[in-house]
Structures are given as structure tokens and as C-alpha cells.
């Protein structure tokens, strides 16, 4: 199994992921690591219907994700891994989901946030979580869609506290 893209995206599976990222990174499997979706039959079936049949979709709780990724069914898969926010991305790391690079796609935290790019608004809690993820050896970049320039996340928070 190789993780071809680990991404934080508050929209989880949506147009940018299915139509831009999947072909760009040649993923043949999407893993959604999210407790709420894993626990909701309606959302699960909607996601299943949205993903083309040529792409394998696995939805698991954060706790189950490490096991899912290491399972035999994933052996030859090129996985696109999705987290809904930085908290989940960090929790997953701590539970043994090892990704070496983390892509920040859409982040719109509901709390008081500062906007850092057109699709990324971070609360201080998000920044703490991302710092902790980085300390675990993960490269963190911001790139909404493949045609955008990839940017180190430090560039985003250079003017921390200021609204752009």
C-alpha cells in the first residue's frame, strides 16, 4: 500500500477530490478516516454512490484506519487518504497511520479563524495540531487542486494573526 495523497479537506469526498486529485495522483482507492461518516449508514451509502466503481472506497473510524491501511486488500493500492480536519489528521498519526506528507485542501474551522488562503481558514487550535504533526516528521503543504502551486504551510502562517 502506498499513500499517494494524505489530505485535510472539510468537504471530504467532493468534486475537487474526485475530478482533480484522483486522476492527478493516479489513486485507485479512497480511504475516508472519519468517525461520524463511518457511523452514519446514509452518508456511507451516498459516498459509495458518488465514487466511480473503478475506485475502491473504504470508510473507517480513525481507530480502524491504521488496520484498514495495513490490511491485505490494500496491499497494491494507491491510496488517497482523507481527514476532515487537523485534529483527526493528528489523532490518526498517533494511532499509527503513517503518512509522510500532508496536503491542506479545504479547511474552514467553525471556530474563530483567520483566513490564510482562499480555501484555508485556521483557528489557533488547528495551527497547534499542524505543528504537532510536523514535529512527527511530516511535511505539510497547502495545495487546493493539482493545478495550484504547492506551498509550504509556513508561508501561509507567516503573517499569523493577520487577515489577508
Amino acid at each position: 500500500m502506498s499513500i499517494v495523497l494524505a489530505r485535510v479537506d472539510s468537504r471530504l469526498v467532493h468534486g475537487q477530490v474526485l475530478e482533480a486529485w484522483v486522476p492527478s495522483v493516479k489513486a485507485d482507492c479512497i480511504v475516508v478516516a472519519n468517525d461520524a461518516v463511518a457511523d452514519n449508514d446514509f452518508q456511507r451509502s451516498i459516498l459509495q454512490a458518488a465514487v466511480p466503481s473503478s475506485i475502491k472506497l473504504v470508510i473507517g473510524s480513525l481507530e480502524d484506519t491504521a488496520e484498514i491501511l495495513n490490511s491485505a486488500q490494500m496491499l497494491k493500492k494507491r491510496v488517497l487518504l482523507l481527514f476532515i480536519d487537523a485534529t483527526d489528521a493528528l489523532r490518526a498519526q498517533k494511532m499509527g497511520v503513517t503518512y509522510s506528507k500532508l496536503n491542506l485542501g479545504n479547511m474552514h474551522s467553525g471556530e474563530a479563524t483567520n483566513r490564510y488562503s482562499c480555501t484555508i481558514a485556521l483557528a489557533s487550535r488547528d495551527i497547534e495540531n499542524l505543528r504537532e504533526i510536523e514535529e512527527r516528521g511530516v511535511t505539510i503543504v497547502a495545495q487546493c487542486v493539482p493545478s495550484d502551486r504547492e506551498q509550504g504551510w509556513h508561508k501561509l502562517i507567516r503573517f499569523e494573526g493577520q487577515r489577508q
Binding site: R11, V13, I46, H108
Partner: protein, 133 residues
Amino acid sequence: MVGLVIATHGKLGEELLNAVEMIIGPVRNARSIAVSRESSLEDIRREMQGAIQAAGTENQGVIIMTDMFGGTPANVGLTFLEPDKIEVLTGINLPMVLKFFNSQEGIALDELAGILKTYGQQSISLASEYLRR
């Protein structure tokens, strides 16, 4: 009269309504929502809630049409799904929207939604296939 909310990536929905009005004149009980890269899910949800209320003033139900199953407009639309009150139809096209406005009066929501699904699918054609017939 059934109401219509069109939710799309970018201003596609707004322009579909413009196109419809170009063809059949002013329409009623319709709203559009443009989803941009900047929109947060909460913003979209709030806007859709308002649009559903504005389009559904006659309590005959509302159809939410979206551009693509699996896209954000459809994902948010599906959270409003409520049989007999709110239907969600994906893969919007102009014939489908025109058919809606020619049928929105005196028909039950579920029946109209079913007709529009079939109609939208049947409205797609590959011209060269006609030549081979």
C-alpha cells in the same frame, strides 16, 4: 406549486435560470446558489436553508437540483433530503430545468422529481447516432 433550488459549482445555477428566462420568460419560486472555493460548508448550508424557504413558500415541496453527484453542492443538498418535502436531483441540464417550469403546478413533488430525472437523461443525445439509424 413546487419550488426549485439550483445549487452548483460557480454561477452555473444562476446562468441556467438566466437561460431559462431567456427562453420562457420570468419564472417563479426559484433560487440559485453558487458554491465557490471560498465557501465554508456552514455558509453553504445556511444559504441553502434560506433558498429552500424562499422557493418553497407555497408548501408544495422543493426540488434541489445540483450539477454533479458527489460534488459539494449535492453533498450539502442531500443533508436536506426529506421525502415528500424536499427532493434532490443531480446532473442538472437545461431541458430538465425547462421541463420543471412547464410542470411545477398541480403535481406532487415525488412524481415531478421522477419525471424530471427521466426527462433529463432522455434529453442527452449524440447527433451522429441519428445518422446511423
